[in-house]
Amino acid sequence: MNSAINPRYNLHAFGELVGLLTRHRQLTFELAKREINERYSGQFFGTLWTIGHPLILIFVYIFVFAFVFKTRVGGTSDLPLDYTSYMLAGLIPWLAFSDVMGKASTVIVANANIVKQVIFPLEVLPVKTVVATLVTESIFLVMLAIYTLITHHALLWTYFLLPVVFILQTLAMIGVSYLLAAIGAYFRDVKEIVQDFSTVAFFILPILYLPEAVPAALRVLLYINPFSYMIWCYQDVLYFGRIAHPWAWAVFSLLSLLVFVLGYRVFRKLKTMFGNVL
């Protein structure tokens, strides 16, 4: 356990991973491109579906919560933007994250023939799904920015912090991908567990509602869910226009870096044995 948190090992692994990803960036981007294209190749709308699916989901949520339940948020100085913006600020990063988790848990098995037969940096595989997802997420973020411009006639100054939170999220996604990819190769059940976890976790995240709306006794669940901190950071940037959750930034930064390194270390340890289980 000591070695898991020993800063020396972690720093070394961090440097190793950053070097590795820099070296293989071309391959990573090429594979990410391939993943996006491949999934929808031969279809009439093609890659438009990458946007299409989440878009439909978002409209459903907006319809249900804004029009059916008539959830009212916004208009005050505390809550500057409308409900749609509030929901999207949390939903966009969460959709990306849960998408990555689902794909990462099968990435090794799905690429079994490459893993078994090509001398090639396996570390690239989980990262390429992250990159592919980030592309979609970026498109949504741009769409949200446009929406904010239209409804609010200006962008929040906190948009300057968007790259920071985006990078932190990327680190966290890479780490979690490594973890799930490595374990998923051994226990195929991981895919199913992740799927259910994503469904459940979504509802114990402050995405559709404000934390204040949750009974105090249950509010602790939000703090236990590590993804809440990412959501709060994104909401600070995209919705609140101020650092409303400073401790969330601290926790999220720390968690992201830790997961990034530890996930990679687990992957590095287990990857030599992938050939045995595929």
Partner: protein, 569 residues
């Protein structure tokens, strides 16, 4: 040492064990409880060899011998269990067609990604792109999706991409056998060029000609061990022998099962087998003691009690080593070592017997393991049982002894060859067979163009309504070259009485040319709709034919040709 610099690959005492879990959940339980739940399967055991720089080394072996596992460990896509592997230089491998290539993408895109995967930069790939397209001869198709390519085209693209990175060590696993002959030629020219430039090549092939033509050195794997290594031509011959020796003909499935970590071979536990062994009725003389070893019993030639037509055979093989059950891969290895070469063997002995199962005996055989101690127990019982023969068995033994005496034999000829495959319901037994030359002497070395007599001598144990005696000649590849029987010749297929001793003679002119051939002799029921053999000795007799000079050595048959050349002007 200067030596180590000359080495491209050094493998020392390499072993690879796959953990075979009966259920996937067992893997989880093992991880949680730390209590082993897997069965070990040794895909490679104690492999040692060296490949020098600039050498072309051929790797041969049957399916399941461990070739692919070895290549994967050398390339680094699979970890080793113990031992040492050193690789000096950059490796490129072609383990499978189109690996890493995506069907949806064009050939060009796939070259690009394939190049990135093996570590080239996009500039490097761009500079090699034209060469790859030209070498693969896919100019007209390179922008079509890869999935539309034929296997030959896929092979061409795979090979071209793999060689373009100019590796120090090139590993090729049979990928070349798919391309057409001309591209194969071109690929081999490329390989030859690589060799001249001092690159190292490790080549897996099933084609012994390829091995002997291109390789400087060859390694023959069997059952996860190095069976033999050395001169490619000689290894090619040993491999051929291994492939076409009759015992391997009878167990095609064993090796494949052996290499499949997902499948467990040990379906019957030792106790059950020992019990089963006690149940086997035996006749006298059907097992032999091996000096210094637990003996091995060959029960294959004998029936389970009763009419064997009710018990279509499915043989089960039991192989054992001191205290440790053996995996099936090992025992074929052992059989060949023992009976193919006649050399020393340190493995346990086999016991195999039949159970009733409606399946083809040749494809459904499997190996099972039994501890030597248990085998001994089982076989001791069996030995005791030998003393007690049923009246029917006694009668049969008497008929047999009488027939053998009349033929002047100690035992049936096929018993000299314990790994021979024998089929039939045993209403008759072919005691003697072979080939005689014109002066009546037995021979195994025939001269093309001479006359010979093939013969079989059969004792009948039961009254049968008819009998047809067959002869078939096969070549090493198992192709039927010639066959006939008295039924095929529209001759009488007479009924036979118990204890009849019948000789069938087939006079032939030997018009085959150089080569090794196998003779199958049989006696069958001429009236049965499907083949009902009383007895059949599959490829039971091996002989060589030699050609006197006068025709091309590549000729398959001798047409007894007279050549006349006349000047016409």
């Amino acid at each position: 040492m200067n030596d180590s610099n000359d080495l491209a690959i050094r493998v020392a005492n390499l072993s690879k064990m796959f953990k075979i879990y009966p259920k996937p959940s067992d893997m989880l339980w093992e991880a949680v409880t730390n209590h082993p739940r897997h069965k070990p399967f040794w895909a490679l055991k104690d492999i040692s060899f060296e490949v020098k720089r600039g050498q072309v080394v051929g790797l041969v072996g049957r399916n399941g011998a461990g070739k692919s596992t070895l290549l994967k460990i050398i390339t680094g896509t699979l970890d080793k269990t113990s031992g040492d592997v050193q690789v000096n230089g950059r490796i490129s491998s072609i383990l499978e067609l189109g690996t890493g290539f995506s069907g949806e993408f064009s050939g060009r895109d796939n070259i690009y990604i394939g190049g990135l995967m093996v570590g080239l930069s996009s500039q490097e790939i761009a500079s090699k792109m034209d060469w790859i397209i030209e070498f693969s001869e896919l100019e007209d198709f390179i922008d079509q999706p890869f999935k539309t390519y034929s296997t030959g085209m896929q092979a061409r693209l795979t090979f071209s991409t793999a060689v373009c990175i100019n590796p120090d060590i090139l590993i090729i696993d049979e990928a070349l056998s798919v391309g057409d002959a001309r591209f194969q030629r071109k690929s081999f020219d490329k390989i030859a060029e690589y060799r001249r430039q001092g690159h190292t090549i490790l080549l897996v092939s099933h084609n012994t000609n390829t091995i002997s033509e291109f390789c400087d050195y060859a390694i023959l794997l069997d059952g996860g061990r190095i069976y033999d290594q050395g001169d490619p031509y000689r290894i090619g011959e040993v491999y051929y022998k291994m492939l076409f020796a009759s015992d391997s003909l009878s167990f095609p499935a064993v090796g494949e099962h052996a290499n499949d970590p997902g499948e467990t071979e040990l379906e019957i536990d030792a106790e059950t087998l020992a019990k089963a062994a006690e149940e086997i009725p035996l006749e006298a003389g059907n097992f032999t003691h091996e000096k210094g070893y637990t003996w091995w019993a060959d029960l294959s030639a004998y029936d389970i009690e009763g009419d064997s037509s009710e018990h279509p055979k499915r043989s089960i093989y039991v192989l054992c080593e001191d205290g440790k059950p053996l995996k099936p891969g090992h025992w074929t290895h052992e059989f060949i070592r023992k009976y193919g070469n006649g050399s020393y063997s340190h493995w346990g002995k086999a016991l195999y017997f039949s159970t009733s199962d409606n399946s083809d005996p040749r494809t459904n055989r499997r190996a099972y393991c039994l501890k030597r101690r248990d085998l001994q127990k089982a076989t001791e019982k069996v030995e005791q049982k030998v003393e007690v023969l049923s009246p029917k068995e006694q009668e049969r033994a008497a008929m047999r002894a009488q027939a053998l005496e009349k033929l002047g034999l100690q035992k049936a000829l096929y018993q000299n060859n314990p790994h021979l495959m024998r089929m039939g319901n045993k209403k008759a037994e072919i005691l003697d067979y072979g080939i005689m030359d014109e002066s009546g002497n037995r021979t195994t070395r025939l001269t093309s163009g001479s006359k010979y007599t093939f013969f079989s001598r059969t004792v009948f144990y039961e009254d049968v309504e008819g009998s047809t005696f067959g002869f078939v000649i096969r070549n090493l590849k198992g192709v039927d070259l010639f066959g006939t029987s008295n039924r095929a010749q529209k001759m009488e297929t007479l009924s036979r009485k118990k204890s009849d001793l019948v000789e069938a003679r087939l006079d032939v002119s030997m018009w085959l040319t150089n080569g090794t051939f196998f003779l199958t002799v049989s006696v069958a029921d001429p009236f049965a709709e499907e083949d009902v053999q009383y007895d059949l000795l599959y490829d039971g007799f091996q002989f060589d034919v030699q050609m006197k000079e006068g025709i091309f050595t590549t000729s398959v048959i001798n047409l007894d040709a007279k050549l006349a050349i006349t000047q016409l002007n």
